[in-house]
């Protein structure tokens, strides 16, 4: 699972090793250290119709540093996207994920690339977690050819088929039936993999969610519905939108688990538990208690429906990156300086990628008409695909 984080492995491990060897030649290299560490999650799991997993999470120094780096990268990326939007290089909708990074990295740590993830429009970080590159993100946000959807999708339409990331959907709640369909296909092909269908607290009130949940439970599909509850559906607080904001209980006959979504290790534990459960018993709902620092999107200041004190309070007490940083420092896995170096390096990487993305050209005008159909259709007649049996006359 950590292989996904080794995409720029050579530079990273070398960089981490360099300061270590220069400052403390006796310290063992952490980037490859997998001696297990057990961490207790601070907030216990609350469960509905199932037994909660234990609060002791197995992890190791390598994983913790990967968490730190990836979350720092995601945070930096989102903040850079904010600046790009204000500079009018990104237009339209831009929904930022900063504050919620723990959900993306924790989930990735518990699953493989064969498991499917599908999410809504707040998908930049989930895409990175699935193995997408920064260049693909920024180029797509700016509508350039190097983007993951060739510039034709935009912020809300990131997809990565080879690592089973199914997007990237703009209509609230519509991705949940799609996710259950992915789970159906997994069951059909007997893959022994699961699908994580992510949605928000706003989408939790959509009827199609319950329809899909009913069908998944009926057909025993390996679908895990994950509610990323950041407590606000755009400008509407959850208590104003839902009679019962206990989203993990909403499944009624489907078991649910409430997780502290700002703790990457708790998320990892919950996802591992959910995967085992889904493969044996069918669907399960995970509610990730998380928070977003930005507004709903770039056009929303985010402070008209909540106080700045609340936002800064969460940032001080529950920030996912700070939590991992404290963990790393308390277990003596790296020094403050090393972590700061990682952050600086990440910042540089993001800036460099933005420069590179800016150089990527806009799509060609002919791209307007490509990929509408799987095979281009003109006014001439074409045969059906597959080419094995054409229309024959007896």
């Amino acid at each position: 699972m950590a292989l996904s984080y080794l995409r720029s492995s050579s530079s990273r491990s070398v960089n981490l090793l360099k300061p270590l060897s220069s400052s403390l030649p006796l310290r063992r290299p952490i980037s490859t250290d997998t001696t297990p560490i057990t961490v207790e999650t601070s907030v216990p799991f609350t469960s509905h119709q199932c037994d909660a997993p234990s609060c002791s999470v197995e992890t190791n120094p390598k994983e913790l540093l990967t968490f730190f780096r990836d979350m720092a990268l995601m945070r930096r990326m989102e903040i850079a996207a904010d600046s790009l939007y204000k500079a009018k290089l990104i237009r339209g909708f831009c929904h930022l994920y900063d504050g919620q990074e723990a959900v993306a990295v924790g989930m990735e740590a518990a699953i493989t690339k064969k498991d499917c993830i599908i999410t809504a429009y707040r998908d930049h970080c989930t895409f990175i977690g699935r193995g997408g590159t920064l260049l693909e993100v920024f180029a797509e946000l700016m509508g350039r050819q190097a983007g993951c959807s060739k510039g034709k999708g935009g912020s809300m339409h990131f997809y990565k088929k080879d690592s089973n990331f199914y997007g990237g959907h703009g209509i609230v709640g519509a991705q949940v039936p799609l996710g259950c369909g992915l789970a159906f296909a997994q069951k059909y092909s007997k893959d022994e993999t699961v699908t994580f269908a992510l949605y928000g607290d706003g989408a939790a009130n959509q009827g199609q969610l319950f329809e899909a949940l009913n069908i998944s439970a009926l057909w025993d599909l390996p679908a895990i519905l994950v509610c990323e509850n950041n407590h606000y559906g755009m400008g509407t607080a959850e208590w104003r939108a839902a009679k019962s904001p206990a989203y993990y209980k909403r499944g009624d006959y489907v078991p649910g688990l409430k997780v502290d979504g700002m703790d990457a290790l708790a998320v990892k534990q919950a996802c591992k538990f959910a995967k085992e459960h889904a493969l044996k018993n069918g669907p399960i709902i995970l509610e990730m208690d998380t928070y977003r620092y930005h507004g709903h999107s770039m056009s929303d200041p985010g402070s008209t429906y909540r106080t700045r004190d609340e936002i800064s309070g969460v940032r001080q007490e529950r920030d996912p990156i700070e939590r991992i940083r404290k963990l790393i420092l308390s277990h003596d896995l790296a020094t403050e300086k090393e972590l700061k170096d990682i952050e600086k390096e990440v910042r540089k990487e993001v800036d460099d990628t933005i420069t590179q993305a800016k150089e990527s050209p806009m799509p060609e005008p002919s791209e307007l008409f490509t990929n509408v159909y799987a095979k281009g259709l003109g006014v001439e007649s074409f045969g059906a695909d597959r080419k094995e049996v054409r229309a024959t006359l007896p």
Binding site: K152, Y159, A174, G179, L182, Q208, N214, I215, V379
Partner: protein, 411 residues
């Protein structure tokens, strides 16, 4: 609701089991008060369910008559009239659909069927009867009444490579799944930059039936036609029903197959061997010289009925069943327009924003110079379909109106 449909099916089946079974379709479509126009002009007899008329005028028509299987426009002119055509087998349209579906399910293990009552019940129009017993519950799935989500699930499964066939019990119910069909089904190939194809088939009966009421008599071709990325086809005979079903399942694009409630019991002889119909091709039903009549689905039979009267009166209409509603087969249509210079569109879709409206625009844009008169389009009235039989009859286009229209066009 299921019993209501069953009742209609039974009534129609009762009609079709009359002794003179070759007149199935005629009995279906003629109101009891109307006398068969066929009897009057004794020089020809219609004895096929597709309404093609045995005329001695045109060798092509005769060839089409003998080779009943040749329902596809004969582009390759070199293929000779074969008198040793294989003995096919006779079946009804819903059986043809089932045959096509079954053959594709046998051929490709990734094909599965989802819909309400398609499994154990056998399908409300018996299209999927027997498939659940043969293929099991995982391949023929009974869904709860949740169109939005099971269509979404079908699309999600299609994203991974499965080839689901989603049945809407009545096309009108798919309005609940419109979001999934428009945004996800049609657009995912484009917004993902070509990463995902959605090889899904969405099918179901639509159209005005026998007093089914407004909500169960809808024509959704007009609503779906502007969704980019989907293909729409409408079947009208057992031959093209089976062919289009198979082609739709094999296509990598999402295809919506429109069937018609009243056409399920049409009987025809179809070939034994494997064949498919081209998804983007129109069908030449009756070649002619004077006027091009473009139609699809049930209105084809009204047109053929009117054609008999017209031939009696000395006109020679060219009847084309456009079959492909999106994209239009402008090749066949254009050739016809160049020949006849007059176009009449007869459709069951609504007047406002219907298929006919788009087709009129497409023909005018492309073939304006070849038209002698403005295109005439006969469509259903812009009203919810009433329950009363007499009113319902006049919501859709009747053969008499077609005859009048052609006379006007050819003046």
């Amino acid at each position: 609701m299921a019993t209501g449909f069953h009742g209609v099916g039974a009534a129609v089946a009762a009609l079709s089991s009359s002794p003179s079974n070759s007149f199935d379709s005629k009995k279906l479509l003629c109101s009891p008060r109307r006398s068969f126009p066929v009897r009057k002009g004794a020089s020809f007899v219609a004895d096929r369910s597709d309404g093609s008329v045995n005329l001695d005028l045109n060798p092509k028509a005769r060839r089409a008559q003998q080779l009943i299987v040749n329902a596809v426009a004969n582009k390759a002119d070199s293929s000779p009239a074969s008198s040793s055509s294989k003995p096919g087998h006779e079946l009804l349209l819903f059986e043809a659909l089932r045959e096509g579906l079954e053959e594709e399910m046998d051929r490709d293990p990734r094909v599965c069927v989802m819909g309400e009552d398609v499994g154990h019940y056998g399908g409300s129009y018996k299209v999927t009867r027997g498939l659940a017993e043969k293929f099991g519950d995982l391949r023929v799935l009974d869904t709860p009444i949740a169109e939005n989500s099971f269509t979404g699930m079908g699309i999600g499964a299609a994203m991974t490579g499965l080839r689901p066939v989603v049945e809407g019990m009545n096309m009108g119910f798919l309005l609940l799944a419109f979001n999934q069909i428009s945004n996800n089904c049609g657009m995912l190939h484009y917004t993902s930059g070509g990463q995902f194809t959605i090889p899904i088939v969405i099918r179901g009966p639509g159209g005005v039936g026998r007093q089914l009421g407004a909500e169960h008599s809808q024509r959704l071709e007009s609503y779906f036609q502007s969704i980019p990325g989907i293909q729409m086809v409408a079947c009208s005979t057992p031959y093209n029903a089976k062919g289009l079903m198979k082609a739709a399942i094999r296509s990598e694009n999402p295809v919506i197959l429109f069937e018609h409630v009243l056409l399920y019991n049409l009987k025809e002889r179809i070939p034994d061997e494997d064949y498919i119909c081209n998804l983007e091709e129109a069908e030449m039903v009756r070649p002619g010289e004077h006027v091009t009549i473009l139609t699809y689905s049930r209105m084809r039979y009204h047109v053929m009925q009117a054609a008999k009267t017209l031939v009696n009166k000395g006109y020679d209409p060219e009847v084309i069943d456009i079959r492909s509603l999106k994209p239009f087969d402008l090749h066949t249509i254009g050739n016809s327009v160049k020949k006849t210079h007059r176009v009449l569109i007869v459709e069951e879709c609504m007047r406002t924003g219907g298929i006919g409206a788009s087709l009129t625009a497409a023909i005018t844009e492309n073939f304006h110079d070849y038209l002698d008169t403005p295109i005439m389009c006969l469509s259903s009235q812009d009203v919810p379909t009433p329950y009363a039989g007499t009113l319902e009859e006049w919501t859709v286009v009747q053969p008499a109106q077609i005859v009048t229209a052609v006379e006007q066009l050819c003046k």
